[in-house]
Amino acid sequence: MLLIALRNLFQEKSRLLISVGGVAFAIILMVALFGIYNGAIERDVKFLKESPSDIFVMRKGMTDMYHGVPLVSLTDIERLGQEDGVSKVVPVISLRPGVSDGDTQFSLFVTSFDPTDLSQGPWALTSGTKNITDGEIIIPGSLAKKLGKKLGDTIVFSESAKVWRIAGLVPEASSFGNHYSWITYHAAQDFVEVPGTVSFAYITLFNPSTAAGAAQSLQPKYPQLSLRGKDQLVTEEKKNLGDSFLPILQAILAIAVLIGTAIIGLTIYTATLDKSREVGILKAIGVRNSQLYSIVLTQSMLTTALGLVIGIGLSFGVGWLISNLLDLSFVVTDIALITVVGLAFIMGILASLIPVRRLAFIDPAEVFKS
């Protein structure tokens, strides 16, 4: 019966094209959603991943570096530096200054670094230098583009009226309202409200692979602090973001699946209606309903498979456009691809249900009427 399914499917090429295009559109929508979602999460944790740290040190009770009042004493940082296995402890001051530029208002997430230590600070810049001085700032390239700023231009922190000269632009440094920016540790000290404290600290170990165990063994000695391995913090951050955005993604995915199902379903249904007489002939000859169902299912699955291949292929083009035109990261994981393939085939099966129902009611005796 595969023969009939194939010949019927390819007999009307324009209909097949519309149907495959519809499935491909739904697939592009799904892959793009997954790509943007995973990309956003990966970009959000990029700051953590790229930080020169095996263990993050925060005040007790804090789950990340972006919220709450960050107070870690320099005395504790000094003590941590003496612990076995610890190679280096880097104190970091972070601030969230508001910035006004004309009608545009936004806030930065600024962290400090020591420009003389090349391991610290932002990841590879697109332009400018990491070797900045106290009045200089490194900001996301996408933010600079949005503001129409270039290297050498200035931005002003609203509350302090402090002026900063843009000395470097860093790629992929804006995510979920966080515009990651960097100033020198020395310049950041002007913003410390409680003397002798910093916001958080990075610990590097002689043996980074022992980070989780080291954080666990150091924790009891520092009950006033929260010590977390990098992997643990990255995992927690991903989970928090996932929990926040997954329901939205699921809703949009459901819409994409419905669109795809409706398109394939309508196409196969109209094809079945068009072929009602021929289905009647097949029934009269003695072809069983189950064999007719297999024809419809095969047609539906083939349409889905073609749409899937084209859709996934085009999705990577769409991903390239998203990455390059919208400054969004686009990451398609194997799990996302497997999920899309699975959803597509569920879509194909669902789409064949209505036509199959229609087949059952076609009366072979109608074939004998003129």
Partner: protein
């Protein structure tokens, strides 16, 4: 033993006062190798009779017996299998599948029987060759003449080697000469391959090929 037995067949459409009687108590028998021509004017009930014989309709009362098997005792799941194995249909409008070539159309009942694709193809080719269509095997129905289409339909009807061929007005859409060729093929099938052929028609030009003619009028044998 008769291959096909129609026993006191009646068929009523609808119910109550609006019910219409299409067939009222038709009985006849047909044997292998015999060509039976059922004739009658439009609306006489001959197509209803053919549908009942072909198990595509269930009679209101009476029985259809095919090779000793009472069809009314078969379920809706069993009837397609019986049709596929025992009955070949030839339609007035040829009713070939438009997306399939001549060869593929003949392959359909064979594939539905579960025969392998290569065996079905070789059998289909053999039938088409026998009917003089070896040069048309890969042609789509739209590229065939009416006579060629009907010959493909006959090949399809005979593909599974059924014991009964039911033909509904097989010459209605053909010119006189081609129509005669077609009924000759059906007669040849009956005689050479020992099939029971029942032709429903109101075409008097084909009377000469029938072994027996049954006239039907107002749902009854006249």
């Amino acid at each position: 033993m008769s291959t096909l037995i129609a026993e006191n067949l009646t068929k009523r459409y609808g119910s109550g006062e609006s019910a219409v009687s299409a067939l009222g108590g038709v009985s006849f028998e047909a044997k292998s190798g015999e060509v039976v021509l059922i004739m009658g004017p439009s609306g006489s009930g001959k197509t209803t009779l053919l549908l009942l014989l072909g198990t595509l309709l269930r009679p209101t009362s009476g029985r259809v017996i095919i090779n000793g098997q009472e069809t009314s005792k078969l379920s809706n799941h069993e009837l397609p299998r019986l049709r596929l194995k025992e009955i070949g249909f030839v339609f007035q409008h040829f009713n070939l599948l438009s997306a399939l070539t001549a060869e593929q159309n003949v392959m359909v009942p064979l594939l539905a029987m579960g025969i392998s694709k290569s065996a079905a193809r070789s059998k289909a080719r053999e039938f088409l060759k026998r009917l003089g269509l070896e040069h048309r095997m890969t042609s789509l129905p739209q590229n065939l003449s009416g006579g060629e289409e009907q010959r493909v339909a006959i090949a399809r009807a005979m593909a599974n080697n059924p014991s009964i061929i039911l033909a509904d007005e097989p010459t209605a859409n053909l010119d006189s000469k081609t129509g005669h060729e077609i009924v000759e093929l059906l007669r040849k099938g009956a005689k050479d391959e020992n099939k029971c052929v029942v032709i429903v028609s109101h075409d008097p030009r084909i009377k000469d090929i029938a072994d027996r003619i049954i006239n039907i009028e107002d749902g009854r044998i006249s």
